[in-house]
C-alpha cells in the first residue's frame, strides 16, 4: 500500500504551544515537507524570530538559532556566510519582519542573500497580546488601536512582497494563503520552490503566508479562516511578485 501522507521527518513529534485554529502549525508542516522533499534536513539551519514562532526551534528537527526581534535576516546572513552549503531559512512574523526588522529584511533581499524567508502575516502582534502590526488593516481593532487603525494618525499597512519587488536583489517573492486546502497546497508548492531555489543557489526567496489569529482577532477558527479569504486576500493580493525565468513553474 502506498503511503501518501505522513508526519514530516523534519518536524519533531511534539505538541505545539500555538492557540487552537492558529495556522502556524500548518505552515510549520509545509516547511518541514519541503525540507523532507528536497532531502536537505541534515544541512538545514533555521532562524527563529521573536513573536509567536519564538519556539519554532522546539518543533523542527534541524539546527536552529533564536534571533533577537527583527534580526533574523542578519543572523541568517552570518550563518550562510560561514556555511554557504547549508540551507538557511528564517521564519518571521509581521511585527518582527515588517516593523522592527524592516532594515534587515530589505538589505538581505537587496544583497540577494541566498536564504529563504517564511513571512507569516496575520496582521497583528500575537505573542504580546494583539497589538497593532505594520500589516494591521485600516479600521482593524487591536489592543493599541482600540478604535480601529486610523490611517490619518498611524498611516497605512505595508505590503511586503510589493515593496521588496521594487528591488533588483530578490530571486523569488510570492504571497500565498492557508485558509483552505487548495490554498494550502499552493502554499506548500511556493515554500518548496523557495527552498529549491536556495538549493540551486539562485538567491533570496521570500514566501509571505497570510495567516490567522483567532485569539487576537476575537473569532472562532472557522470565522478566522473566512476572514483571511474575505478581508485579507483582497488587501494583500495573492500571487508571484518575482520569479526567475529558468525556475518558474510549480515544480522548481
Amino acid at each position: 500500500m502506498k503511503k501518501i501522507f505522513a508526519y514530516p521527518r523534519a518536524l519533531s513529534p511534539k505538541r505545539t504551544h500555538y492557540c487552537p485554529g492558529c495556522t502556524h502549525g500548518i505552515i510549520h508542516r509545509l516547511v518541514a515537507e519541503a525540507i523532507d522533499d528536497l532531502g536537505i534536513q541534515e544541512r538545514t539551519i533555521g532562524i527563529a524570530p521573536v513573536g509567536c514562532a519564538v519556539l519554532a526551534y522546539e518543533y523542527f528537527d534541524v539546527d536552529f538559532l533564536e534571533a533577537a526581534h527583527g534580526r533574523a535576516p542578519a543572523v541568517a546572513t552570518g550563518v550562510k556566510r560561514v556555511h554557504p552549503e547549508a540551507i538557511v531559512f528564517s521564519y518571521q512574523g509581521d511585527g518582527d519582519l515588517a516593523s522592527i526588522g524592516m532594515a534587515e529584511i530589505i538589505h538581505a533581499a537587496t544583497r540577494g542573500e541566498n536564504i529563504t524567508v517564511i513571512f507569516v502575516n496575520n496582521t497583528v502582534y500575537g505573542m504580546t497580546g494583539g497589538q497593532m502590526a505594520p500589516t494591521t488593516l485600516p479600521g482593524q481593532k487591536t489592543t493599541t488601536s482600540p478604535y480601529g487603525r486610523d490611517t490619518a494618525t498611524v498611516g497605512y499597512p505595508i505590503r511586503v512582497c510589493e515593496l521588496l519587488a521594487t528591488l533588483d536583489g530578490p530571486a523569488y517573492l510570492e504571497r500565498v494563503s492557508v485558509h483552505d486546502p487548495q490554498h494550502i497546497i499552493k502554499a506548500g508548492r511556493a515554500i518548496r520552490k523557495a527552498f529549491a531555489l536556495q538549493v540551486a543557489g539562485k538567491g533570496f526567496s521570500l514566501v509571505e503566508v497570510l495567516s490567522s489569529c483567532p485569539t487576537n482577532w476575537g473569532m472562532t477558527p472557522t470565522q478566522a479562516l473566512r476572514h483571511i479569504k474575505e478581508v485579507l486576500v483582497p488587501y494583500y493580493p495573492l500571487g508571484v511578485f518575482r520569479a526567475p525565468e529558468e525556475v518558474s513553474g510549480d515544480d522548481a
Binding site: 541534515e42 539546527d63 533577537a68 534580526r71 552570518g78 556566510r81 560561514v82 556555511h83 540551507i87 538589505h107
Partner: protein
C-alpha cells in the same frame, strides 16, 4: 623577528587574520574605519568574508549568526556604534556565542566627537546591554598588544564561549608603531555545539538565549555566573612597573598609561618613587594586586580620559585601606605629560626625594 610599522587599527586587523579570523561584519564609523577597510582588502586574500552591514545592529546580529555557526568572527566600531550593538552583545552572552568586538572609543555622550576617550569603561566592564553578564575586556597599551591581545581574545572567546571586547581608543588606533606579526594560524573548527546542519547528529544544535520557564532562566544564569567566576579567577592581566618601592602608584590603561609612563620616566630621573599599575584586563579587574599594594601602604592616583570610571574599581579594590586620587580629562582630550607630572608631584609626600 622583523618589525613593521603599522597603524594600531591595521595591526589589530592583521592580528585578527593571523589568529584565524575569517569573518568580519561592520559598519563605517570614525575613528575605526581602518579596520573594515583593511578587512575589505585582506579577507578575499585569505578566503574569508568581509561584509559591510546595513547597520551596527545588523552587523552584531551577523556576528551572532556567524559565531553561532562556528566561525571565528570579528566586528569593530566606535562608541555610538557600540551602544547600538548592546542588544546583540547581550544575546551573544546569553546564547554563549564566541566572538570578538572592538571598540575604538571616541568622546561622548551622544554623537560626541571624534577625539579619543576612555568614557566607555562602564559600558564595557559593567554590562551595557540588559541582563547579568560580563565580557572579558582587554585594553591594549601599544600596537604590539593590539596584535597579541586580539589573537588571545579569539582563543579566550572560544574557550569560554563568551564575547570578548577589545577596548581601545582613537590614539591607539591611529598611531603607527613597530610590530612583530605572528605567523598565520590555522584554527581547528572543533565546535560540537555550533549550528552547522545536523550532519548525522541525533539531536539538533540550538543557539538560544530564551529561558521562558523560570527555572530554565535560573539554570542559564547559574551556568553563566560560574563561567564568569572562572574568568575572574584565571584571566586577570596587568603590568606592574616599579610599584614595590613606590610611594605613589599611578593606575592607568591604554593611551593614558602611555602619558603616565612618560611622566614617570621624568620623575624617576629626579629620583621620585612612583610606580605604574596598568590593567591589561579591565574585566576581570586586577583587584588582588591593588588590595596588596594598599595593604602595603601605597597611595594611588588614577588617570583616565573620562570623568572617572575605572577609579571606582580602584576604590573598590583598595577598600578604604588607601587614599585614591583621580585625575581625568573630558571633552575627548588627552592629558599632557606635564599635567600628569604636576599632578603626581603635588601628591608626593614631603621628603619624597632621596
Amino acid at each position: 623577528m622583523e618589525r613593521v610599522m603599522m597603524k594600531g587599527n591595521e595591526a589589530l586587523a592583521e592580528g585578527a587574520i593571523r589568529a584565524g579570523c575569517r569573518f568580519f561584519f561592520g559598519y563605517p564609523i570614525t575613528p575605526q574605519n581602518e579596520i573594515p577597510e583593511y578587512m575589505a582588502r585582506r579577507m578575499p586574500e585569505v578566503g574569508g568574508v568581509f561584509l559591510q552591514a546595513e547597520s551596527e545592529v545588523s552587523a552584531i546580529n551577523m556576528v551572532y549568526g556567524a559565531g553561532g555557526a562556528g566561525g571565528r568572527v570579528l566586528t569593530s566600531s566606535s562608541s555610538p556604534g557600540i551602544s547600538l550593538k548592546q542588544e546583540g552583545i547581550s544575546y551573544l552572552v546569553g546564547a554563549q556565542v564566541p566572538c570578538v568586538i572592538v571598540n575604538v572609543a571616541r568622546g561622548g555622550p551622544g554623537l560626541g566627537g571624534l577625539t579619543p576617550s576612555q568614557s566607555d569603561y562602564f559600558q564595557a566592564t559593567k554590562g551595557g546591554g540588559h541582563g547579568d553578564y560580563r565580557l572579558l575586556v582587554y585594553a591594549p597599551g601599544n600596537a604590539q598588544e593590539m596584535v597579541d591581545l586580539i589573537g588571545l581574545a579569539f582563543d579566550k572567546a572560544e574557550a569560554y564561549r563568551n564575547p570578548v571586547m577589545i577596548l581601545t581608543d582613537a590614539i591607539m588606533g591611529q598611531m603607527m608603531e613597530p610590530v612583530v606579526l605572528p605567523p598565520l594560524r590555522e584554527v581547528s573548527p572543533d565546535k560540537p555545539w555550533a549550528t552547522t546542519g545536523k550532519k548525522g547528529r541525533s539531536k539538533p544544535n540550538l543557539i538560544n538565549s530564551l529561558g521562558i520557564v523560570g527555572e530554565d532562566l535560573e539554570r542559564i544564569n547559574v551556568e553563566l555566573q560560574a563561567k564568569f567566576a572562572r574568568m575572574a579567577a584565571d584571566e586577570v592581566r596587568y603590568e606592574a612597573d616599579g610599584v614595590e618601592d613606590a610611594d605613589l602608584v599611578v593606575v592607568a590603561y591604554g593611551t593614558s598609561s602611555r602619558v603616565v609612563r612618560s611622566a614617570i620616566s621624568r620623575l624617576r630621573q629626579e629620583k621620585k618613587k612612583v610606580g605604574l599599575l596598568r590593567p591589561v584586563t579591565l574585566w576581570p579587574f586586577p583587584q588582588q594586586i591593588l588590595a596588596e599594594l594598599a595593604a602595603a601602604g601605597k597611595r594611588f592616583l588614577v588617570v583616565e580620559m573620562s570623568a572617572g570610571q575605572m577609579v571606582e574599581d580602584v576604590i573598590l579594590s583598595v577598600n578604604d585601606r588607601a587614599k585614591v586620587t583621580f585625575f581625568g580629562k573630558l571633552n575627548g582630550t588627552v592629558p599632557t605629560v606635564k599635567e600628569v607630572y604636576d599632578r603626581i608631584m603635588s601628591l608626593l609626600p614631603e621628603g619624597g626625594e632621596e
